[in-house]
């Protein structure tokens, strides 16, 4: 394969050319209620050629049929000539590498039968259905995929990598009259079949929470001090702040550049935020990104001050900074763009008990059901929540949606917990039509003052 790639790359007339080929086998088993919806395997194979011309722009060709690579390279060159970037594209230099990354799975899911995968997820599904008569519906999904990626560029880099991923999702829907509530829990890791096993607690938690939400009252909208749990804090830092750290948002935008100027104070001294695509075993971890840049830890906020951002080779060159290993693509159908890997709020010193004790009336918001941001403005639905009354957790409430302005909210963080955890749920991050990209989010409990809670 390397010979074919080298031959095709050798014919390119572009200033830079890369080829990424992928073969992926995916197996999914899903239950909806008592019914098995799907137990199937799909095969996806294809490739992408991406090149640029200094007198043009980016030319990209994606394809399923991989037998005429030289023609695809020529077609991409032609595409690159159809456009005209006013500022010529440059790529920040990275080391040329030849590497092969293979994985050893504890229990290789490619050798586990469809019957066994079905039996496993069926058992979790049955736990949820059997939890209560109020559970009227469920969604239980087992998914594994094994991807083989070959990357080669005109600078001489050749990387072959195996990328496994396993995911289990358990969602429960409970109903009482017209009131319908749902809860879900999931786990996903770049690992073997073993991580999908022994997840009974995960299934039970999902069912229990859906039923509990039936007796929860809607929260009364207003401004509250809020403690967010590590999962919600992780989603918050990823969605509301992490996306602003992606240099492609700002590198051609003078005003956004000013807003995200390094050295700007974003929070109090104890606020530290980082990105790390190199931590072993996390969903967003790879040795190299999809441009062949080695991944590493990148501090984004240190002691409350903005100190870094995430780059592809193109954005790094444009801004005169170093590539950070954050150019990622979900598949061969897409070019790599600036993405997060594993994003986190570093642990602080407060215990949960210290954080809650002086809140007279507040909210403890847990998990995120969805989040949305448009630069400074964000909105998150929490999965479930409790009122905090007189320094203690009180009744469960529902429909808790946190909204606000990122800058004000980060400044309003007044305590960071010492109970850091990585959240590795299924699904992933979406950007530029590329969804879902596996990422991890990490955080401890975080307390924020004056959060606007939208209530029904």
């Amino acid at each position: 394969m390397h010979d074919k790639l080298s031959a095709a790359l050798g014919l390119s007339k572009a200033d830079y050319t890369e080829i990424r080929l992928e073969e992926r086998d995916t197996t999914t088993v899903s239950f909806r209620g008592r019914e098995l919806e799907n137990a199937s395997s799909v095969i996806d194979a294809g490739g992408i050629v991406r090149c640029f011309r200094r007198d043009g722009g980016w030319g990209i060709v994606t394809f399923n049929s991989r037998d005429q690579l030289a023609e695809k390279v020529a077609q991409a060159y032609e595409c690159a000539g159809n456009v005209k970037s006013e500022t010529p594209i440059e790529l920040a230099p990275i080391p040329v590498v030849q590497d092969q990354i293979t994985v050893t799975l504890e229990q290789d899911f490619r050798r586990v039968s469809l019957a066994e995968k079905k039996a496993l997820i069926e058992s979790y599904n049955a736990l949820m259905l059997g939890y209560s008569e109020q559970i009227v519906d469920t969604v239980s999904v087992y998914n594994d995929s094994f991807k083989h990626v070959t990357f080669a560029n005109s600078e001489g880099t050749r990387i072959e990598e195996e990328r496994p991923m396993v995911a289990v999702l358990c969602a429960a829907i409970a109903r009482d009259g017209n009131d319908v509530q749902q809860a879900h829990e999931s786990l996903s890791l770049p690992a073997g079949f073993e991580i999908a096993q022994n997840l009974e607690t995960l299934a039970q938690t999902s069912a229990r929470r859906a039923v509990e939400l039936l007796s929860a009252k809607s929260v009364v909208g207003g401004q509250y001090p809020v403690i967010i749990n590590p999962q919600l804090a992780g989603v918050f830092i990823h969605e509301a702040f992490g996306h602003l750290s992606e240099a492609d948002f700002i590198y051609e935008n003078p005003a956004a550049r000013e807003m995200m100027v390094l050295g700007r104070r974003f929070g109090q001294d104890f606020l530290n935020v980082f990105e790390d695509g190199a931590t072993p075993g996390l969903r967003g971890t790879h040795k190299y990104d999809d441009e062949g840049t080695p991944t590493r830890r990148n501090d984004l906020i240190r002691n409350g001050i903005l100190v870094g951002r995430l780059h592809s080779r193109e954005t790094a060159a444009r801004m005169g900074e170093q590539p950070t290993g954050n150019a990622r693509a979900i598949s061969y159908r897409f070019p790599p763009i600036v993405r997060m890997t594993n994003t986190a709020i570093a642990p602080g010193e407060s215990s949960f008990a210290e954080m809650i004790k002086d809140i007279e009336l507040g909210i403890y918001a847990c998990d995120a059901y969805g989040g949305n941001t448009e630069l400074e403005a964000f909105s998150f639905s929490s999965g479930y929540a409790y009122m905090i009354r007189h320094g203690e957790l009180a009744e469960m409430v529902k429909d808790v949606i946190l909204a606000g302005n990122l800058f004000a909210t980060l400044q309003n963080i007044d305590a960071i917990g010492n109970d850091f955890v990585w959240t590795q749920t299924g699904g992933g991050c979406g950007k530029g039509g590329q969804m879902p990209l596996p990422v991890a989010m990490g955080a401890p409990h975080v307390r924020i003052q004056n959060v606007v809670i939208g209530g029904a």
């Binding site: 060709v61 595409c79 509530q181 639905s381 949606i401 909204a403 209530g455």
Partner: protein, 432 residues
């Protein structure tokens, strides 16, 4: 497609779907013409029913036919037992969805259109950064099954997605819109001019006030109300009994001013086609008629579960099983001119777009969203943009009484046609 023949005798029912498409994209990023991309896609998806069980497999690897066949048979060994029946050869309405002018549009013409859009929006606000994606495609779908269906449809989707973002200090304004068609239409500037209007209006920022007040939802902002409805009308939610509308056909659920229709047979719309992705002819489906619930959206499987006929709403990608999906959704026009609606408001809010669509407990009809672009209305005039405002409610409460529906309707989000809606007593929450 010899796969159908190879599987003959190994299963009672067999369906082979072959997808082939070529999409050409021209992309402007931050005003700059940056990328030209060509995506060629081809693949096969196979469904079989064997011993009453449904199996599914798909592949984009043309050399993996044997594995594809093995996968689909293994899948059927554990598959779903819904008694679904693949349709035979059924006549479909003639639906215009291919126009040779689209695949023949020269790249240079796409570039020119993009430049025109960038220039127009830059003229309105020189500080705005404009992104435009222009996409022309040819999609070929071929479906065959053992019952005799043999359908080949070619479509020519064309779309322009465009947006502006403008940062001034810590104020960020982001506008987004998209148009889509399958028949070439020279009038691509209408939604661009609409965005220009909002770019102008959004330049003035005024304080917001919390409280109960009348709210106008623009066709774009109105998705906040119609989105939970679309979810509840989906046959999948209905047969599972979790749609709050299940079992309520014939009931008055909304104000008589509201009629909601799904229609994939409209000529030239972005999702128009003669057949759905299971070989069922498309048709016009009236879902809500003058506030009365009339129907749901079904594919073959959910229809079989509900004991009704498919409404022709089976939609799928190469790698997924079909599921019910709306095609071209239309909320009918009303009787009030927009100008009159606006003139009658002493103090109110205009909702143009929201953040976080689909958040919260959507299936229950609840919506709760911070607003991305909203304006304060005073004495019949738009005063300026308000920030940090959110709106919450439940569509099954708030749409029982709709104060007014505009005569004007607009196409938004490529395939949704809606009028302006006025609700006269909404709870507006403003921060500060």
């Amino acid at each position: 497609m010899e796969i159908l023949e190879q599987l003959q005798g190994q299963a009672e029912q067999i369906e082979v779907l072959q997808l082939q498409s070529e999409v050409t994209t021209i992309r402007f990023e931050s005003n700059v013409l940056k990328t030209n991309q060509v995506e060629e896609t081809s693949g096969l998806a196979v469904r079989v029913v064997k011993a009453g069980r449904l199996g599914f497999a798909a592949s984009s690897d043309a050399s993996a036919t044997e594995k594809l066949i093995a996968n689909v048979l293994e899948s059927a060994a554990y598959g779903d037992q819904t008694p679904l029946v693949f349709p035979g050869a059924l006549p479909a309405p003639a639906v215009d969805c291919y126009d040779a002018r689209i695949p023949e549009l020269p790249i240079a013409r796409l570039v020119e259109i993009g430049q025109e859009i960038v220039a127009y929006l830059r003229a309105v606000d020189p500080e705005g950064l404009v992104d435009v994606d222009l996409r022309r495609a040819v999609q070929q779908t071929a479906l065959r099954n053992q019952a005799g269906a043999e359908i080949a449809v070619t479509r020519s989707p064309f779309s322009i997605d465009f947006g502006v973002n403008r940062v001034k200090g810590d104020d960020v304004l982001m506008l987004y819109d998209a148009l889509g068609t399958t028949l070439w239409d020279e009038d691509y500037m209408t939604p661009v001019r609409r965005m220009g209007k909002h770019l102008r209006l959004a330049q003035t920022i005024v304080p917001a006030r919390s409280g109960r007040m009348p709210v106008i939802f623009s066709p774009f902002g109105g998705l906040m109300l119609t989105y939970p409805l679309m979810v509840a009308l989906n046959g999948k939610q209905v047969v599972k009994g979790i749609s709050p509308l299940a079992g309520r056909i014939g009931e008055q659920i909304f104000d008589t001013k509201l009629t909601f229709v799904d229609d994939a047979t409209l000529p030239g719309r972005y999702n128009s086609a003669p057949y759905d992705d299971e070989g069922v002819p498309h048709r016009r489906n009236v879902l809500v008629e003058q506030g009365v619930l009339r129907g749901f959206l079904y594919d073959l499987k959910t229809a079989a579960q509900a004991g009704v006929e498919s409404t022709g709403n089976g939609e799928r990608g190469l790698f997924s099983l079909p599921s019910p999906s709306g095609s071209t959704m239309c909320l009918s026009a009303g009787e009030t001119p927009l100008a009159e609606m606006l003139a009658g408001i002493k103090e109110g809010l205009w909702v143009e777009s929201m953040l976080g669509l689909g958040q919260g407990n959507i299936i229950s009809g609840a919506f709760s969203n911070p607003l991305a672009v909203a304006y304060r209305i005073e004495n019949g005039q738009i005063l300026g943009r308000v920030k940090d405002v959110s709106l919450a409610g439940n569509i099954y409460d708030v749409l029982r009484h709709v104060a007014a529906v505009s005569q004007e309707t607009e196409w938004v989000y490529r395939a949704l046609n809606q009028p302006y809606l006025m609700l006269d007593d909404m709870n507006v929450v403003a921060k500060g």
